[in-house]
Amino acid sequence: MNTLAQAPAIPRDYSLTGPSSRQAIEIGLASAEWYHTEIPRKVMKDLMQRRDGPALRDTILWVLGHVLMAWGGIYFWGTWACVPFWIAYGVLYGSACDSRWHECGHGTAFKTGWMNDIVYQIASFQVMRNPVAWRWSHARHHTDTYIVGRDPEIAFMRPPAVVKLILAFVGIEGAYSSLKVLVRQATGTLSPDELDYIPESERGKAIFAARVHIAIYAATIAAALAWQSFIPLMLIGLPRLYGCWHMVMTGLLQHGGLADNVIDHRLNSRTVYMNPISRFIYWNMNYHIEHHMFPMVPYHALPRLHELVKADYPPPSPSIWAAYVEMIRAVRCQLDDPEYYVRRDLPPTAKPYRDEFHNVFLSR
């Protein structure tokens, strides 16, 4: 690990083909062996078991929620009474889609493969992500979590772009850039970063998926024009803007303000205790250290996993509010000093207490 401490100082370059990427490979941060808490094999096998029941229940509620809230929004259209319905519809569409995309992408939400695939495709569309490209992007995120130059899903770059982070809550920048990417992919062009993480055999599928998404958006706009109504857009597409705030609120907490270029998820990820509604929308991804350390454990087993490993982890943030206080303080420090990050103290019970993961300061 000494080689990490001796790494030469270079500015952060978040592209996957630049100097940070080359340095990450050279010093062994790419595809590294990460720390994981020891759990007896029989217990782990039990935690990893797949079930259809919890995800079927949650998906039925999710779909019913879409239908009821859309009905209320349309029924009361033109009056203030429609507002709460559209707010709720927006969150179910534009925020809950992210966790459904995520869990079904891992293939852990349902036991039955095709159920994972169907929900994955729907949620990918809702969140405006190419279902093929993002599967590979997310695989890389798990291989090289917050390794600069390797992880394509670093939401919290340094120094932080505060205006962009605030705008993310209304989805304008995110939806616009996602649409731009989908349009580019639909024309058959993949970026250098995408070519870096999507295998050749999958690239045609990625382009086809982008074309399907763009065709649905085009049909929605055509319907709105034909019916001279805003409602088709309120149902499809726009919820990604007006309903994404919960996805952004929870998503920024996953790694925001914490260390990058470490190979211990306890140091670069955050577990936050949340209320039951947020946990339903977020499908328990508030147990984010647990998810990264053991990504094959389904969302419904994460609370059980948390109880087993918490003595080996830093104390979780007690609430969304507390986590934001910690993160915003870090952001303010990073505006002056991009090298600043929240240093996690592992509990004395951490087993083993791994100095090589915990105390190495990555000089740049």
Partner: protein, 103 residues
């Protein structure tokens, strides 16, 4: 000519589970299928540098613990993204209570 190496005892692996077996500088995964048969594959996932021994066996599939890619461990066939490259398989024989892998 196949060199048969003893990998483990039959009761070292629960049914529908696997263990890691290292030999020289090579590492393997030995499986105990639900039907009682034993199989062997290369130990590391073909997608990234992750050992399969921490993964989950579901019927005749092994799921990589890191990215949830799946292989049929009887044939090595890659069954679910992000794995695209098949896994190398090795012959296995059982003699008495011992499992041997053919290298």
């Amino acid at each position: 000519m196949t060199d048969w190496i003893r990998a483990c005892a039959t009761d070292d692996i629960d049914p529908e589970d696997l263990i890691r077996f290292d030999h020289g500088d090579r590492t393997f995964a030995i499986y105990h299928a639900p039907d009682g048969r034993f199989y062997a594959t290369a130990g590391r996932c073909t997608h990234e540098n992750v050992h399969l021994c921490d993964g989950l066996v579901m019927g005749h599939l092994i799921e990589c613990p890191k990215h949830n890619g799946q292989f049929d461990y009887r044939t090595g066939e890659a069954k679910r993204a992000p794995v695209c490259v098949n896994l190398q398989c090795f012959p296995v024989k059982v003699e008495g209570d011992d499992v041997f892998i053919g290298l």
